[in-house]
């Protein structure tokens, strides 16, 4: 109960701050919330259950394309699209998990399969005219609640924050239930887990399904924020790597470390890009890389580990 209360307070605080941010600040707010939600969803499978995915863009992209295609072709509200996106993401996650884990393949094999599936989908969608092929889909701007479109960025701040909160609630609920211990046991030692009565394959499939469903929630929101999606932006490897990277930098073992990683890295990227724009092309990527190496070298348990160590030391 305490963690749910803390979560509620943080969300309320963020919601209260959002109106006072500049337009640019609100843009960063939306990005952080959306990327944070993807990273946290990734962490359910990658961090909590210990199965590294290199293809979480698959879920985001599937969600974005599903809701957008339904909206453009059938006029279906993206809110319904959001629910359907989660269902599709869950089904894809379960299918992906089942095909790989049933064969007792894990670790690097799972990572490669997820990578291959995301890339495959990218190329398939790039060749389907009904989905805009490589040109992508543009959503006409018609701000209304039913269309999940807002005239100001503030509306998007709240929707993005809402998705982030949903993911966070799911994580706390899992952590407190039997499922949390199932994931923990699978991550730590599969043989021991099985000896304790835990169905390891089933546990991994559930982790992949939940992780996929929650990541897919971000797709429709992103699509309606940018009002344009193309295969590279939502199915691309960059997004998959980002989810993993934010989690690593934030702290894999922790529940909310990935969010911390996002809070630090997303604004940093934006800032560097802005500061160095037009001077040396691509130098912001080099600086970004150096920061990543430093964090991994100096804080192998991530920023969250660094923070909790510091708190422990102060208390001692």
């Amino acid at each position: 109960m305490k963690s749910m209360l803390a979560l509620g307070l943080v969300v309320a605080l963020l919601a209260a701050v959002a109106p006072f941010l500049s337009i640019y600040g609100q843009h960063i707010f939306v990005l952080v919330a959306l990327y944070g939600a993807v990273a946290l969803a990734w962490n359910i499978l990658g961090g909590m259950a210990g199965q590294m995915s290199l293809g979480h863009a698959l879920f985001v992209g599937a969600g974005a394309y599903l809701s957008t295609a339904l909206y453009l072709n059938l006029g279906l509200s993206p809110w319904i699209g959001l629910v359907l996106a989660a269902c599709l993401g869950g089904a894809l996650g379960a299918l992906m998990g089942y095909t790989v884990f049933r064969r007792k393949l894990s670790g690097v094999y799972f990572a490669l399969v997820t990578l291959a599936l995301a890339e495959m989908t990218l190329h398939i969608v790039s060749n389907v005219p009904a989905l805009g092929a490589a040109n992508g889909l543009a959503i006409p701007a018609q701000p209304s609640m039913a269309n999940l479109q807002f005239a100001s960025k503030l509306g998007y701040c709240y929707v993005a924050l809402g998705v982030l909160a949903v993911v966070a609630v799911a994580i706390i609920a899992i952590h407190r239930s039997r499922l949390g211990y199932v994931f923990l046991a699978i991550r730590e030692n599969e043989r021991s887990a099985a000896a304790l009565g835990i169905d390891v394959v089933q546990g991994k499939v559930i982790a992949a399904a939940i992780s996929g469903a929650l990541a897919a929630l971000v797709g429709p929101i992103y699509a309606n924020y940018v009002l344009f999606i193309d295969p590279e932006s939502v199915f691309g490897i960059t997004l998959s790597i980002d989810a993993l990277l934010f989690s690593f930098v934030g702290g894999l073992g922790s529940l909310f470390g990935p969010l911390l990683g996002t809070v630090v890295l997303v604004p940093l990227t934006e800032l560097l890009r802005g500061l160095l724009a037009g001077r040396l092309a691509g130098i912001h990527l080099i600086i970004y890389g150096v920061i990543l190496v430093l964090v991994m070298r100096l804080a192998p348990r991530g920023l969250w580990g660094l923070l909790s160590d510091a708190i422990a030391r102060r208390r001692a």
């Binding site: 211990y181 199932v182 923990l184 030692n189 043989r191 000896a195 009565g197 835990i198 169905d199």
Partner: protein, 244 residues
């Protein structure tokens, strides 16, 4: 009590041409401590893995509580009431001792009132309650061995398979484990113990099964089995037996 709790019937396991376990049969009663001994390479661990579901037998059958469990996966056996420990301890290293045991309480997916309280009670039984908050990787070896037992106990087994829980321990630490195991049996759990520490297995076991080269070569009361010429030969070799 009707019939034995565990029946092993002509179980064999071959690895290519090697008969690691060859037509081994024995029964285990529901309150019994059965010691499984034999020289290195006798096939004890393979048999053990077969009973706990981690290796499928090539031939033969295993029944538990009258039910055929041959070839069932480990998690299902654990839910039926067969707990096990690992010879090389396999704790959940990066989480606390208490969380290790809670995972054991919740593992079989049966209703529990309060997993935390139940886990603490199990830790008390193996005298590890004072270490509940410590990360499992920071335990000493004897503590890790007891955590291994606690985690298996937390699943509420009716049969506990213990694979060399005393290996590498000092005599005093072995005494401590022996007391714990005797307590566990008193609470109604049957034990199948693979062990090399003879002093312990001789005094704990109600009966012994002796294996050599994949086969069962003797079975019976510890004192009688220890005097069996076939057993002495298996451990010490033919010449020594001839001289004795």
């Amino acid at each position: 009590m009707s019939g034995p709790l565990l029946q092993v019937r002509a179980v064999s396991r071959w690895f290519g041409g090697l008969r690691a376990v060859d037509e081994v049969s024995f029964d285990l009663g529901s309150h019994e401590i059965l010691g499984l001994i034999g020289p290195n390479g006798a096939g004890k661990t393979t048999l053990f893995e077969t009973i706990s579901g981690f290796i499928r037998p090539t031939k033969g059958a295993v029944t538990f509580d009258g039910r055929d469990i041959t070839g069932q996966p480990p998690h299902r056996l654990a839910r039926l009431g067969i707990g096990r420990t690992f010879q090389i301890v396999q704790p959940f290293r990066e989480v606390s001792v208490l969380e290790n045991v809670i995972a054991g309480v919740l593992g079989p997916n049966r209703p529990t009132a309060d997993p935390r309280v139940e886990a603490m009670a199990v830790l008390t039984r193996v005298r590890l309650d004072h270490r509940a908050g410590v990360l499992a990787r920071n335990l000493s070896l004897p503590e890790k061995k007891r955590l291994e037992i606690a985690r298996a106990l937390a699943t509420r087994p009716r049969l506990l398979l213990l694979d060399e829980v005393m290996a590498g321990l000092t005599p005093a630490e072995i005494d401590e484990i022996m007391v714990i195991l005797a307590d566990i049996r008193r609470e109604g759990v049957a034990l199948l113990i693979v062990e090399h520490v003879m002093r312990a297995i001789m005094s704990l076991s109600d009966r012994l099964v002796v294996m050599a080269n994949g086969r069962k070569i003797a079975e019976g009361l510890p004192a009688i089995v220890a005097a069996d010429p076939a057993v002495i030969e298996a451990y010490l070799g033919r010449r020594h037996h001839g001289a004795a």
